[in-house]
Amino acid sequence: MALTQTSAGPQRPATRPEPVRTPRKRREGGAGYWLYLLPGAILFVLVIGVPLGGTLYLSLTKWSGVGDPTFIGFDNYTRLFQDEVFWTSFKNTIAMIVAMVVVPTLLGLLLAAVLFDVIGRRFKPRTAAALRAAFYLPQVLPVVVAGIVWGWILRPDGAFNSLLDVIGLGALRHDWLGDPDTALPTVMAVMIWVQIGYPVVVFMAALQRVDPELYEAAEVDGANWFHRFRSITLPQIRPETFVVALTCTIAALKVFGPVFALTRGGPENATNVPSYFAYYTFFKKLQVGYGSAISTVLTLIIIVVAGLFIWLQYRGERQDREV
């Protein structure tokens, strides 16, 4: 959104067509300001630009981290596309997108609307705020620490299985994270728990700027809660929905900490994800070239996905203007 805001700049002269002002403004945007960009630019090149270039180069080599890298062309990439673990890890990324984007966004929309509309209005706003805090709490904690607590809860002798015993479902006792069949769904459930608070908080804030008169008018027309949710709430908070979907998707593609804490990608790669796969290849298998290839592919995917999102958003905004 900010991108489109700054792009409003060139349109300015059209609305204020005084020819005297334009040359002075051009002079203002001169060399002096570059100085302020300098420290940031140098840091940026050293910490992001050069390492990124390094990873790109290393992805074309075979290297254990000691001695000199051997250039091998695209061998790492051909190996990558035949590597079953690689495909598994990307398949698991889809699962992560479901658990970190799709479910939290949908559930978050519903929860935010309910908290704002029903709890906030028909009960005290403080009740809504307290409930919101409960949903948001996991978001402020170090996700790795939360992951370690969950890892213990889900152990065969952990609290979850004991809870099943107490409520008479002892037959369902299971090694939730240790069984390849249940590990991924279990990690997904934990990720929903981690992620849900973010959309709830953003959407509740977004709802505050929706004109209440829209709802009152709809209510007078006899629209029920669900109608109002669909016809007013959803279209009104679309910009926020977009931001949430984009940031959560990027987070899902990059997810590392929870997988590290819960399963270390296991059992049998059932919960492996690209970023853990890359980490493991770098620092445990010491295959720096191959790890770089994994990271490069992940980076490209993220760039494509982010570009797609921004393009969709831009197109949506343009269509809105035309309507």
Binding site: I148, E240, G291
Partner: protein, 292 residues
């Protein structure tokens, strides 16, 4: 919306609707509260077992009420990992990053949003992209370079890296905020003979201070919770952060279930405290962040 529907039917509908909701609102409240309780249950499990002796845990299981108020697990974790030192490392890293990244963001955004330097759209796009980059795409060269120049296993290496990563987001956000800064104010200051530095310090900075405060808190908490880069860069007991310290003890002989929970509890307390202290600013900031 068909706002001009027949209005004489409306009152009757409205009454029925409200009556209907009057009863069902309690059902809604119960459901949402149930959801909130499920969110909090893991913390209750953790609290329950952080104060339980290992013997008590192995005989009565994870759900029993502790027979005594056992604090040795907490003490063990506190002394074994030297928690105050870990706390200091986390504080030093997150605090430095927050301040430095806000400063770098402000300088960048001043040039981009107010200076409107050439190609700013591309530069802002680049910063945004850098913020989305997976850290794995940077980590090995950074790790290697840090080893070469003697910054490996120092807090400084992590501070520099996160200053850049966080300021990439800060630049993106602040550039768009400053892009809407009233030109008339800037022109008035320029007429008074204020240079660029004076304008930044006396005009722009006081105006965006609330946004900077929000960014400061975000950067602090984000850096506090970071994991991969500290995990790779900090291998030593004397440099590690709180999350890395807990994670690297996972599976250790020392970490029986009550000690694990005690360690997790200690590790979570600072984050919860920050959250409570900053909650007002945070919820305002999330709104600002979402709308920008």
């Amino acid at each position: 919306m068909a706002v001009t529907l027949v209005t004489d039917r409306a009152p009757r509908r409205k009454v029925r609707d409200r009556h209907h909701r009057g009863a069902s609102r309690w059902v809604v409240l119960a459901l949402v509260t149930l959801g909130a309780v499920i969110m909090l249950v893991p913390f209750l499990f953790m609290l329950l077992n952080a104060f339980k002796s290992p013997g008590d845990y192995s005989s009565a299981g994870p759900l029993s009420w502790p027979t005594e108020f056992y604090t040795k697990g907490l003490k063990t974790y506190w002394t074994e990992v030297n928690f105050p030192l870990k706390f200091w490392n986390s504080l030093l890293i997150s605090g430095s990053v927050a301040v430095l990244a806000v400063a770098v963001s402000l300088f960048n955004a001043y040039a981009l949003g107010i200076g409107r330097v050439k190609g700013r759209l591309w530069i802002v796009g680049l910063f945004l992209l850098a913020n989305m980059m997976p850290q794995e795409a940077l980590i090995y060269p950074l790790y290697y370079a840090a080893k070469q120049i003697g910054l490996y296993n120092t807090q400084l290496s992590v501070i520099i890296i996160f200053t850049v990563i966080q300021s990439a987001f800060g630049t993106y956000l602040l550039a768009s905020v400053l892009g809407t800064f009233p030109r008339s104010v800037l022109e008035a200051a320029a007429l008074d003979g204020a240079g660029k530095w004076t304008v930044l310090r006396r005009v722009v900075f006081p105006n965006v201070r609330p946004t900077l405060a929000v960014l400061l808190i975000f950067f602090f908490i984000w850096t506090w919770n970071e994991f991969l880069i500290p995990l790779v860069m900090l291998i030593d007991n004397s440099t590690q952060t709180i999350p890395v310290a807990l994670a690297s003890l996972q599976g250790d002989r020392l970490m029986d279930a009550p000690t694990t929970n005690a360690g997790a509890l200690i590790s979570l307390v600072p984050a919860v405290l920050f959250f409570i202290i900053f909650q007002r600013t945070l919820s305002r900031g999330i709104t600002a962040g979402a709308e920008k």
